[in-house]
Amino acid sequence: MDKLHWKIGLTLGLLILSIWLLYPTVEWYTKTPDERAKLEAVRMRPKGIMNLGLDLRGGTHLLLELDITKLEKKEKVADAVTRAIEIIRNRIDQYGVGETPISRQGERWISVDLPGISNAEEAENLIGKTALLEFRLVNDSKDAQDVVAKAEALDGPPLDKNGVPAPEIAKLLPKGSMLYKATAGQEGERTRYYVLFDSVPVTGAYLENARVETDRQFGTPSIGFTFNKEGGKLFEQFTGANVGKYLAIVLDGVVHSAPVIKTRIGGGSGVIEGSFTMEEARDLAIVLRAGSLPAPVSIIEKRVVGPGLGEDSIKKGLSAALAALLLVVVFMAIYYKAGGLIADIALLLNFVFLIAALGYFGATLTLPGIAGMILSLAMAIDANVLILERMREEMALSKPVAMIIPTGYDKAWSAILDSNVTTWIAAIFLFQFGSGPVKGFAVTLTIGLLVGMFTSVFVTRLIYEFWLTSNPKELSI
């Protein structure tokens, strides 16, 4: 009997542990959406709870590709991606949204999941901006001025999407200089161009802080920035040596302003002016503070699920699934009587353990994940049907109850083991090599199969063994 006590203890212990692990998940999802949003905003989201995928809760998923052709030569791709992830995380943290999983996918892709962001475009701008701030001198030689005149007179745009100048412009450019576009001015105004020197004496890498400032007179926003010590020194030297020349402030390859350097600028601070809206200025300050990306990123996948849709489809699907599950439970109890009820208890425990395990691993439940769960539950029921059918076969041979039960389990065991392991092998490969939804499926299936084996074999047998201690004469299956 010691062995039986030990088994009961183990099962009850696991049950208590599961309920304890389950508690934060249940508590979290019984809160109203507003309460959850509030807590997330102040980063009070509890750890170790089961997450809902964006397809279930609404939100924006972005997949970014790092343009590795624009990396600095000496930087390794893997390092650059890691750095980009850090910077993007930094920006999002400053922006103040909740739990945002950011992860590397493949060699140079970065996946960002923004839960429940209503303004996807704002988030995109925040994440997608390279935010490379450069200070360059304007080339105001005669040749350069000719280039500018030619560029502004050209019919088509003198620069293509990637900033490569048209051939007739390229051949005129003075050596060591490049043509740059200025930010769009008032509507109807022609785009202006500058020729800047290639050397970049100071960059945004030396920034210590950036914030939004508003003009006292007109209330137009601009961005004030402060250099760190080293940057301040460099900036002071640079401006000191170039008094009287024009200094272009270039952000992501676009000239924002090009004031004349009146005097040596000490103190290490300055202002970027341009025609910003308040939001643009705020986002810009955030990205400047968080640092620039090692290379430009482009969005290669974007999925937005409105919050209403997620909830609606889930409610429908969930209630249908629950109804179906209830039907199965009732059927088992009618068809297999007490044996069916025991299987039902196992199924319930299976559910509790599974959700608790998903919460413990902080797994994310998606629609395909639910599919994996259904398969694992179906296999758990199948295991019990196998056992019960074996017991019925043994019962038909008029064996005593004390023999029917162990024989039923022993004979059913190999089929249960082999079918579970086979599916498990598939699940492991899918987990290892699949991505996105396929992985979500594999996670719930892998955990579900392990839990299912435990509840449908170990736990049900335990219940029978406990019942056998009362020395019953008849088995109700």
């Binding site: 996807a120 179906a324 179906a378």
Partner: protein
Amino acid sequence: MIRILHKTNINFIKLRHVFFGISGAVVLIGIISLSVKGINLGLDFTGGTMMQVKFDKPVEISALRAALDSARIEAGIQSFGTNTYAIKVKGTQENVNEKANQITTALKAIQGAAFAEEKLDYVGPVVGNDLAKKALFAMILSMFGIIVYVAFRFSNPVWGTAGVIGLLHDVFVALTAMSITNREIDLVIVAAFLTIAGYSINDTIVIFDRMRENMRNFPKMPLGDLINMSVNECLSRTIITTATVFITVLILVLFGGSSINNFAFCMLIGTVTGVYSTIALCTPMVYQWEHGGGRKK
């Protein structure tokens, strides 16, 4: 005791040519459908933009079509419940928001009804390719894994191969059903295929297990009789398990809502074919191979 079946004694092996004929015909239909109608691949694999919008008032699909046509957007339009439409532009090479903005602009031209964006998908061309490749790669590897494990556990590579052929057959039949009904294959459907594969091999293993056991108990019994006995012994379990899963999935098809309808439909086909393939394909195939076809034992 409630019993669905009492002792049955159906000669499945004798019926094998009928089964092979049925499966052959279904596979043929599948090949024809796939080559004539093709597969309706979703955005996940083709790349493109999909926008699901909900209007606040009833809007005719023709008005939608006209608005998109006048903006020169070639798109598929699908109705999705009350005043909700999905607008799909497949295989674009555009940047992320280009098509979405065009669609929004075009829809704003529709008079008298405002709309809200419920869902937006943009999949760049590289991504679609990558997703498809990875899913396929994972599936192929896991099938090899299954063959090896089954070969090891049942000390016979023929059994494992028969099991995997059954699984491939089932996924193919599900694919055919999707092609015939013109339903879209996206990543969620790939998950359904995986579920079908897992379910199919599970069912096959249960029968194989009974065959293994009976071989030990009755070493002299001819293989054909042994297979028949094993399948018949397991028949009531097969029916109960299948019925429970079938009913579950049927409820999902009927009441589960539009977003999981394709998934549930695919699973419904898979449940039936998963059981069928075990009895009608995997076990007779084992018989056929071990006996070199014509020779009776």
